[in-house]
Each structure stands twice: as C-alpha cells, then as structure tokens.
C-alpha cells in the first residue's frame, strides 16, 4: 500500500509518512479554528466539535501511520493495547463528564486538567533517558516539571473546590515555596549540564518529579478559593506548555502548536482574570487573601436588618427594575432554576429583570453564566459588571443571591481591606438591596461586608433555594 516517493532534492519518504504529517497539519488547523469559534457564543459548540474532530483524526493517523526511528509501524498487539486503553479511559471520561452536576463543573475542569498534566509528566519522564542534546534535555525536564506541578496543583484545586481540602496558610510557606522553586531550577540546570544523573537518569528524574509534585501542592495550598479561577487557568496553560514540550521531543508539530496555543490562551485568560480583580498575578500567588481580618473589623458597624418573605415579595412585585447578583451561594444551593422561575414570574408582571455578572463570581470565570444558561435564562439578561453598574442607581431592588466579596463596598472605600481596588458590582448604589444568605458568615476572602450594614439593605436569611421558592409562592398568591 505504501509507496516510496522522492522530493526534487532527493529526500525519500513514504506516502504514509506524508499522509501522517498532512493529518497533523489539518489537526493543528482544526485546533486553531476550534478555539477561534469557541470564543463566539453562536459558534462555540461547533468550535468544540471541530477541535475534537482534529484530535480524533490525529489519534487515528498516529495509530495507523506512525513509525519509530527504525521505520517500524505500531505493531498489531501494541495497537490493540493502546486502543483498549483509549476506549476504556474514553468511556470513563465520557461518563464522568456526562454525570457530574453543573455546579461541580469547575472541579471537573480542574480534574481533567490534572490528568493532562500527569500524562505530560509521564511521557517526559519515560522519554528522558532517550533524548540527547542539552537543549532537548532542558525541554524534556521542563515538560516533566510543568506537567507534575499542573497535576498536583490541579488535584489540590479540585479538592478545594469540592470542599475536601481546606486552605493552609503559614507565614514560612512563602519561603519554602521559593526554596523549592530554586531547587527545581537548580536540578534542571544540573541534570541538563550533565553534572548529575548521567548514570541514573530516571532516578534523578524521579527526584525532580517528586519535588515538582510537592511544589504543585504547596503552590496551590495557601491560595484562597476566591482566587481559584486564576489558579486553574494558570495550571491549564502549564499543561498546554508541558504537552508542547513533549511535542518537541517527538518533533510533532500538532502537539507543539496545540500545546502552545493552550499555553498562550490560558496565560491571557489568567491575566484577564487578574485584571478583573485589579491584582497582579504575583499578588495572587504570593499574597493570599484575608490573612488576619485587620483593622477593618474594628470599624463601627450599623445594625443588620432582616426582611420577611412577604415584604420582600411585595417589594419585588411592585418594582420596575430588579437586578439579581448571583454568586457561589447560588451554585451551592442549586438555586439557578428557581431564580429563573422568579425571573419569569416578575417579567410577567412587567418587572424588568437583569442579572449582574461579576467576572470572578463563583469559582470560575463564567461560572454563573453556565449555571443560569442551564436554567434557560436568556443571554441578553446577563449583563457584565461594567455595563450594569451605571444603571444600578436607577434600579429599584438588587437581589444578592449568595454573592459576597464581589459586592463589598470595602473594595472602593477601605484602603486597609485586602480586596481594596477590586472592581465590584455597586449593589450599594441601588434603591433597595435584598441579600440572601445562609447566615452571617464571611465571604470566601474572609472579610466583613459593609453592604450588609447599609441602611438600604435587608437580609433574607436561609438557604437561597428555599428563600426564593417561598418568594415565588408568595408572589403567585398575590
């Protein structure tokens, strides 16, 4: 089936080799088109499908056409083992992705990112003894290190978002992390320069891998939940770069392009998120949120005022404009469907209902959009922070559902607050504010919220879903 062709300058190659490279080119193009389409609402789903098609094609052509340096194809037995592994893991991945609740989406993305990191680290680890040339050794070691950090870091992020892992903060941790980072870089330099590890490359690589895993854990451990979106995005770009490094080992252009594409996109997304919080990346990584509570806690506070369901329902039903500010509490309470019902009910009564989406509300950028989309809330009702803020002084009621730090006025007027400078949804400028909260606990950043003590604010305590359910029943009975 395979014939040998010759280029005009005398280079021999087989049709199979040419088709394989061609398929990688097409796969790479599909990745770029896919990512491009993914960034527009109307074409996003198609984009995902195109990228997946590119991946499937690259997998199949690699299986059928790839040759090792001696010119041997992947043998039938090896092929069966590989296909069996892919089918098994493919089904598992498919089922997990289909079964998981929408609210657990951020954890899941973090988990899948961890598996990609692990795969990159393993490939680099296994290839290390066979690569030659200082440059390629450095690339391999970089892939190994980044993949390991991405794996353990993403697993910790997964655990944190799932509530299985708490925050651990200690003042000395900053120094331990810096020391570890120096140790990692030193090891890479020593190994690649051939100073150590030339007799037992895999042993010393195992040490590097272990250190990188520990670094990943310690890197994410002190970072608070409010910053988790930034961390996941950053780790996502690490995984991409690690995959690209492996691509350099195999001189595989599809892997290099796909990996770097994700690395660059992930980095940009990370920076966009940091900008949304008005913080630098270094600040997110080194200076964790809400260390002590600080001077702000001693400030004189007004009294908390509660509102009954009956009063709240009347206030809402006779408003002209209502803005809902969703936060992580909405996700926890699974309140998206009932919120949508309340929205429809009010809209029927002629109330204009909008949603104010803070870029970092929830545990992931766009987390709220995904949840509300699940509950069939139309796109055009979701308004971004910069667009909604000017309209809030004319808004009759702002309902804060399980959001906290993103509406805290301390970000604007308390320079001692750890979130000072973060852009917020200016709920306090509305005519009335209803805050739905389970109790008087602090937000994820662990700081007091002065919105709750505002004269115009009324608190509606309880599980958000139950509270809104009662509101809906009450408004229906009017």
């Amino acid at each position: 089936m395979e014939s040998i062709l010759t280029t005009p300058d005398g280079l021999n190659f087989t049709t199979g080799e040419a088709i394989l490279e061609l398929s990688y080119l097409i796969a790479a193009i599909l990745f770029v088109i896919g990512l491009k389409l993914l960034s527009h609402p109307e074409t996003a789903r198609k984009g995902n499908l195109w990228a997946a098609t590119g991946m499937l094609m690259a997998i199949i052509t690699t299986l059928l056409l790839h040759k090792d340096p001696e010119g041997n194809h992947i043998s039938l037995t090896n092929g069966i083992v590989v296909v069996a592994a892919i089918v098994a893991a493919g089904i598992i991945g498919w089922v997990i992705a289909k079964k998981v609740k929408m609210t657990a989406m951020p954890q899941l993305v973090s988990f899948f990112n961890a598996t990609g990191g692990a795969a990159s680290a393993l490939v680099a680890f296994l290839e290390l003894p066979f690569v030659s040339g200082t440059g390629v050794v450095i690339v391999t070691l970089a892939g190994l290190t980044l993949g390991s950090i991405s794996f353990s870091g993403s697993m910790i992020a997964y655990g944190k978002l799932d509530g299985k892992v708490g925050d651990i903060r200690a003042p000395y941790m900053k120094y331990v992390n810096i020391l570890l980072l120096i140790a990692l870089l030193a090891l890479i330099v020593l190994i690649s320069s051939g100073t150590i590890g030339s007799e037992a490359p895999q042993l010393i690589a195992a040490v590097l891998l272990g250190l990188a895993l520990v670094y990943g854990v310690l890197f994410v451990m002190p970072i608070g939940g409010a910053d988790m979106p930034v961390v996941i995005s950053l780790l996502n770009s690490f995984t991409g770069i690690a995959a690209a490094m492996a691509g350099v080992i195999y001189n595989n252009q599809a892997m290099i392009l796909g990996g770097i594409l994700v690395g660059a996109a992930g980095t940009i997304l990370t920076i966009l998120m940091c900008r949304a919080m008005n913080r630098s990346l270094v600040n997110v990584i080194i200076g964790a949120f809400g260390g002590g509570g600080g001077a702000a806690g001693d400030r004189e506070q007004g009294a908390i005022k509660e509102i009954s369901v009956g009063d709240a329902s009347i206030l809402l039903a006779y408003s002209r404009k209502v803005v809902i500010v969703p936060g992580y509490g909405l996700a926890v309470a699974q309140a998206q469907h009932i919120v949508s019902e309340l929205d429809e009910l009010l809209t029927e009564k002629g109330v204009e209902v909008k949603y104010a989406i803070h870029p970092v509300a929830g545990r992931m950028p766009g987390h709220m959009n995904v949840l509300l989309a699940e509950a069939d809330v139309p796109y055009d009702k979701l308004v971004e922070m910069a667009d909604i803020n000017p309209t809030l002084p004319n808004t009759d009621v702002v309902i804060v559902v399980g959001a906290n730090d993103v509406v805290n006025p301390a970000a604007e007027n308390d320079p001692s607050s750890p979130i000072y400078g973060m852009p917020i949804i200016k709920a306090h400028t509305a005519k009335n504010i209803i805050v739905m909260k389970r109790g008087m606990g602090k937000g994820y950043a662990g700081i007091e919220n002065f919105l709750f003590f505002n004269d115009k604010t009324r608190m509606l305590f309880g599980n958000a879903r139950d509270s809104i359910q009662k509101l809906v029943t009450e408004i229906k009975s009017h």
Binding site: L126, T239, L269, I357
Partner: protein, 104 residues
C-alpha cells in the same frame, strides 16, 4: 553559545511554530465575552490533551514486557484520554445549554 545555536538550528521549525503559536493563541482569545470563559477554558483544556499523541507513540513502540515503564506508559495514555474525552464532552455539555436557550 555554540550549544544555543546548535539547539536553535536543529529545532528551528519547532521554535518557529512555538513563537508564532504564542501570538496566535493571544490573538484567538482576545475579545472573548466573559460568558464563554468557562467553556473556553474547558475546551482549551481538552486541546491540551494532545499529549495523548505522545502517549500513543510511547506505548505503541514499547515492547510489552511487564515493567514499571510499561505501567507508566499505559497510565500516560489513560490519563491523556481522560483529558481529551472528558474535556470535550464536558465542554459540549456546557455549550449545549447555551444553544437550547437561544431558541427561546
């Protein structure tokens, strides 16, 4: 210095692709509405599963004798597939909901 030049010259195609891909990645992502941040991150994450190709090459050409390396190679393919399959399916699930809503 010679080492750097040797590395650059022998990997010049890869380095060109890396340099241009960085700009491509930045260009493709800019102007993304925040509605799509989560699906986009998830989709990008699935694409980073392209490491699966490396896993296939590795496991495909290994002699299938029982060893730690074989287990690790198998693990690499399993993990890479999880990343790819789970990543694309979960992204599709998120985006499916956007579409459903648009018909309203």
């Amino acid at each position: 210095m010679d080492n750097i030049l040797i590395f650059f010259y022998s990997n010049k195609e890869a380095i060109f692709i890396i340099a241009l891909s960085i700009f491509l990645g930045i260009e493709v992502i800019s102007n993304v509405p925040s509605v799509l941040h989560t699906p986009l991150m998830s989709g990008a994450n699935a694409i980073s599963g392209v490491i699966i190709i490396g896993g296939i090459i590795l496991l495909g050409h290994s002699d299938l004798k029982f060893s730690a390396d074989l287990i690790l190679g198998l693990l690499a393919v399993l993990m890479g597939t999880l990343n790819v399959a789970g990543g694309f399916v979960v992204t599709d699930r998120m985006l499916e909901m956007f579409k459903k809503k648009q018909r309203n």
